[in-house]
Point group: C2
Chain length 385, copies 2
């Protein structure tokens, strides 16, 4: 327990806090915080609870952060269901009745205050999460430098929504376009699930880098509107599954690639869809899988691998980020610059405001909604006073 | 047409020919040759014909070769059926009534005589085919340097059977073990169809290089005899499909690899078998497909690709050989050295003698036999006077 002396010494810090911050800080420097926690794996709507607790002031190397925005990604749902390989440690650190973890992996924070031995951060700085499993569906947290990737001051004008959603989708698209097929300006790539967050990021990054994209979407009532939307983002070709599978399309792409075929395919569907994606690839092509919306295993013909020299890989941005922290910082800065230049737009999203009046039902409801069928807009928690 | 003068000039060459050679050489220097040819794709037993023709003396850069041994590989059958991507040109060069090609892709030859402008070859030299689609099921042919990979004199003691069967199976095993997973001494690899020609080569090469192998075979009546046979070749573990799929086996391999899993899987089966192979691989593992005995597409879980970082490739030795002629010569020399040192044994084979008495029925019968079910020994044509 903190001694009365320590509480007294922390008093001057409190005096420096902004009006907003004072509302969440008690007389003894403790911050009132809330978090969506779970103590057992299962359906998010069943296992998630809104937990209120208080946080002591940042001490030593600690950084007190408040969340500005945190998206709800499919992987967050899988994590709570217990079917995602990155599992947070369950602890009683937040004073929960049972060992628990906080939901969410991605988010943007503002520094509220810092411990005496923190270097490189000051109140008002912004940061995103450096790794998965920190738990971002909460109002406040005590973090350390190792948990955070500080946003350089030059990018302070980036909206919290853009910053909060940069680590997963844009970074996944970025690495898949860069790391697998030595694409050069003018080269083509093809992707299914092209209207996903990653898909939209790939279209835009491809456009910036002078790549050409074939974008496959599922047949739907508003297909022309979606086609136009993706074309407006920078897509070169948008086709439905059925259009992709037509014989004519294959020959069209052969012509457009001077008979060489496409060098790279991005796959988030799996099953038969992968087969049709690979059919459009040329000799030596690469197909990178980052999702499995169809929940079917990939369908890969041995003859494609052997005679067309196709290579199949997977990509998991969490592993890449953990292994390449410096490159991640550079990549994020590069994407922020694209956003500032108006070349890169965030995905369509639906805000759920999280403020002191928000109920468990409302917040858990937003998570449950995100877990339903595809085609919903991305759900994002936006934190307000 | 050759002038009388040229025929006269070639006479001295004929005088130098051995007894064997003279039997096949007519008074005007023409060689009597036979070849198994096909003029349309289809079942080998239906489309293959034994064609007799004569070959003029080697002229300019031509090399007159006689075949010593030519195996019948599964790919040869696929080629005749028209389902193999490497297709020989159909021509009337051999005087066939219709445009035809000669069957077979692999073989070892002896040089009978050489044209005036041939460098680097002399009668009695041996060579193997440099590329696919030359047509090796024939007694004699006119070739050029570009068609042949000369066997260095130091390897003249290598048996024709070993030399004739080195280009496909041992070279496939060699490259798959070397080029995909950075294996180091003590590392494990796993392969299905382990009793195939490639499988047996991989066991032996792995042993030579200090690698450890898990070898998967199908359940069969004589399973213990086959297990012993593969262990004697240098296998570390031989298991049946069912044994591979048992839970205990997975943990056994985890223990043997200190929890890292196996780095490389060689797959010639496809379907579900690939799934069980991949289950034994560790993070970052590679699975290389070189066949599809089950005729099923590969079954690849997206989660293996994404979260285990598994990479799937194919390997086609013909493409590799065409692109790396010098490296191929070095590799072949290395394997010949292993053979001389007694470290590398040829696969079990069944000879079909091809001599002047051989009938079309006998020769085509050997090809048809090779195309039937697995488990047959490799069929090899051995040419005799």
């Amino acid at each position: 327990m903190a001694s009365p002396l320590r509480l007294f010494r922390s008093a001057p810090r409190i005096a420096n806090l902004t009006c907003y911050q004072r509302r969440h800080v008690s007389a003894f420097g403790y911050t009132q915080a809330k978090a969506l926690v779970y103590s057992a794996y299962g359906e998010p709507s069943t296992v998630l609870k809104l937990h209120s607790h208080s946080l002591r002031p940042a001490y030593d190397e600690e950084i007190l952060i408040k969340f500005l925005a945190s998206p709800i990604n499919p992987a967050d749902i899988n994590q709570i269901e217990g079917v995602y390989p990155a599992k947070p440690e369950l602890t009683i650190a937040l004073g929960t009745p049972e060992k628990s973890a906080v939901g969410g992996n991605e988010g943007v924070v503002e520094v509220v205050s810092v411990g005496a031995n923190v270097k490189g951060y000051k109140p008002g700085d912004r940061a995103i999460m450096k790794h998965t499993s920190f738990g971002t569906w909460r109002t406040h947290a005590l973090a350390k430098d190792e948990n955070l990737l500080r946003i350089p001051d030059e990018f302070k004008d980036i909206s919290p929504l853009s910053a909060a959603t940069i680590s997963v989708n844009p970074c996944t698209a970025y690495r898949m376009l860069k790391d697998f097929a030595d694409l050069e300006e003018g080269d083509w790539f093809i992707q299914n699930g092209a209207n996903s967050g990653v898909g939209r990021a790939a279209i835009q990054l491809g456009k910036i880098w002078g790549l050409k994209s074939v974008n496959v979407i599922r047949e739907r009532p508003d297909v022309d509107a979606l086609k136009k939307e993706l074309m407006d983002l920078g897509a070169d070709i948008v086709v439905t599954d059925a259009e992709l599978q037509s014989r004519g399309f294959y020959w069209e792409m052969q012509e457009k690639t001077q008979g060489k075929g496409i060098k790279l395919g991005l796959n988030c569907v799996g099953g038969k869809a992968t087969h049709y994606l690979i059919k459009c690839l040329g000799e030596g092509g690469h197909v990178v899988t980052y999702g499995a919306m169809s929940k079917q295993p990939l369908n890969l013909n041995a003859s494609s691998l052997i005679f067309k020299d196709i290579h199949a890989h997977g990509f998991w941005v969490s592993r890449w980020s953990d292994r390449n922290p410096e490159a991640k910082a550079e990549m994020v800065a590069e994407i922020f610059r694209f956003i500032q230049q108006g070349k890169f737009k965030e995905v369509p999203f639906e805000k759920t405001i999280w403020n002191s009046d928000s109920t468990e039902e409302q917040l858990v409801g937003a998570v449950a909604k995100s877990g339903q069928a595809f085609g919903n807009k991305k759900q994002v928690f936006v934190f307000e006073e």
